[in-house]
């Protein structure tokens, strides 16, 4: 351990004590909207350290989990095209679409490859010019610019057999939708650290200004999350602040924002659990439409079918905790998942399941 890590680890119990002191008898519900936070909270057993009045709920922060069934079916349909090599991130491969998974399609002969970066997919396309390489892009503002950078690289190098199936989403609109719906009482948000690296924290000011709900941008170490909770409990009036100061600026990464704007246009997007939200998705801009997989290939995804009894949608809105679902841990486990929230390691159900002994 480095000196910094030791210093940070020593902070955790002290921050927990300070948090209990600051919260007193009051009750709070705070929502995190980032799968990496979901995972960190579960892995470090942070719920155990919280005073009884503080409830933590997960919002729509896991990209795989919020991807609508029809979009998953479209990815599968594209993977089945004989000329297509479908590249994507590992998380997407095991997610149940209506009738199958990418993993099952791969076993049946489809060319599905897991990549670490969209840039790797461009390289595959350059190396295998006879294949049509489709990158299935999911993820929020953190990931969207990396896919945009890959598309610009393909354009610059003339890699014409590369295309992008964009299912990217942006975070502010669903938070507005959640607050507008008013089903979940939220006293504050733990805002997504790596999304805010790109977007900055200023774009969340509407939470405080329009809804009177504060937010703190947090990093991913246990002391970061506790520090953010302490800041939320201590807010005299709702405001948006940054705990993750080592990486996040109020204005964000302007270069990445410009690349997103160059490659993508905002569009409506369908969110599992939340439905269609205007302006919450990213489609390829007209100048990049030559790399749009949906313009290049026509596929019929069929009618989407949701798994019976799965409560992912309510979990994603913070209405129920994963163990409230009758399928949780019985018919739905990480080894044999029914809902998307149990598949991705960042899904609330998977995080609860894996660390349930810690969470009690």
């Amino acid at each position: 351990m480095t000196e910094r890590e030791l210093q940070a680890a020593a902070l955790v119990p002290r921050l927990a004590a300070a948090l209990a002191q600051a919260a007193g008898d009051r009750s709070f519900t705070f929502m995190e909207v980032c799968g990496t936070h979901t995972m960190a909270i579960a892995r470090y057993g942070l719920r155990q350290l919280l005073p009884p009045g503080i409830r933590l709920v997960s919002g729509p922060g896991c990209p795989v989990c919020v991807t609508a069934m029809r979009d998953l079916d479209t990815v599968v349909a594209m993977a089945r095209l004989p000329q297509v090599t479908l590249c994507t991130f590992g998380d997407l491969v095991r997610v149940p679409a209506s009738r199958t998974t990418l993993a099952a399609e791969r076993a049946a002969g489809a060319d599905v490859r897991v990549v670490y970066s969209a840039l790797d997919a461009v390289q595959i396309a350059a190396d295998e010019p006879r294949r049509q390489v489709v990158f299935a892009g999911i993820g929020f503002e953190t990931t969207a610019p990396t896919v945009a950078a890959a598309l610009l690289t393909a354009r610059e190098k003339g890699v014409a057999n590369f295309s992008v199936l964009s299912m990217h989403k942006t975070m502010p609109a669903p938070l507005r939708a959640l607050l507008d719906a008013g089903e979940t009482s939220i006293d504050g948000f733990i805002l997504p650290g790596h999304v805010c690296v790109i977007t900055g924290s200023d774009i969340y000011r509407f939470l405080a200004d329009d809804y009177g709900v504060g937010g703190v941008v947090a990093g991913f170490e246990p002391q970061d999350v506790l520090g953010a909770l302490l800041a939320l409990v201590g807010q005299q009036r709702p405001e948006i602040t940054i705990e993750y100061t080592r990486a996040v600026r109020p204005e964000g990464n302007r270069v990445a924002q410009q690349i997103i704007e160059e490659v993508f246009d905002p569009c409506e997007a369908d969110w599992r659990g939340l439905g269609v939200i205007p302006g919450s998705g990213l489609k390829l801009a007209p100048a990049c439409s030559g790399f749009d997989a949906q313009a290049r290939f026509t596929v019929d995804p069929g009618e989407p079918r949701e798994p019976a009894g799965c409560r992912c949608g309510e979990v994603l809105r913070g209405l129920v905790d994963p163990p409230d679902c009758a399928l949780f841990g019985r018919r739905c486990t990480p080894e044999d998942p029914i809902g998307a929230c149990m598949v991705s390691s960042e899904g609330s159900c998977a995080a609860y399941y894996r660390y349930q002994d810690l969470d009690g």
Binding site: A18, F140, P145, G227, L230, N253
Partner: protein, 82 residues
């Protein structure tokens, strides 16, 4: 998904950097972070550097958290603080 790993830039060749963590070395694009220099600690996400990490800002945050924690511990002396 939004996992990003802090790594140190050891070399830059055009838009690509060599980044290192604990002796492991890989390539990362600087397209989203053209201002980065050799020696910077950067966050790497999906093959791209996305932010230069500020050690000074990190120290300030930890100092502040330390102060708050010390204050919390002081005002709750009757409670165990282990």
């Amino acid at each position: 998904m939004c996992l990003a790993i802090p790594m140190r830039i050891t070399a830059i060749d055009g838009k690509m950097a060599t980044v290192e963590l604990d002796g492991l070395s890989q390539r990362a694009s600087l397209m989203l972070l053209p201002s980065a220099s050799v020696g910077d600690y950067v966050l790497v996400h999906a093959g791209c550097a996305i932010a230069v990490l500020s050690e000074e800002d990190a120290q300030e945050t930890y100092d502040l958290l330390n102060e708050i924690a010390a204050f919390g511990a002081e005002s709750s002396e009757t409670e165990p603080d282990d």
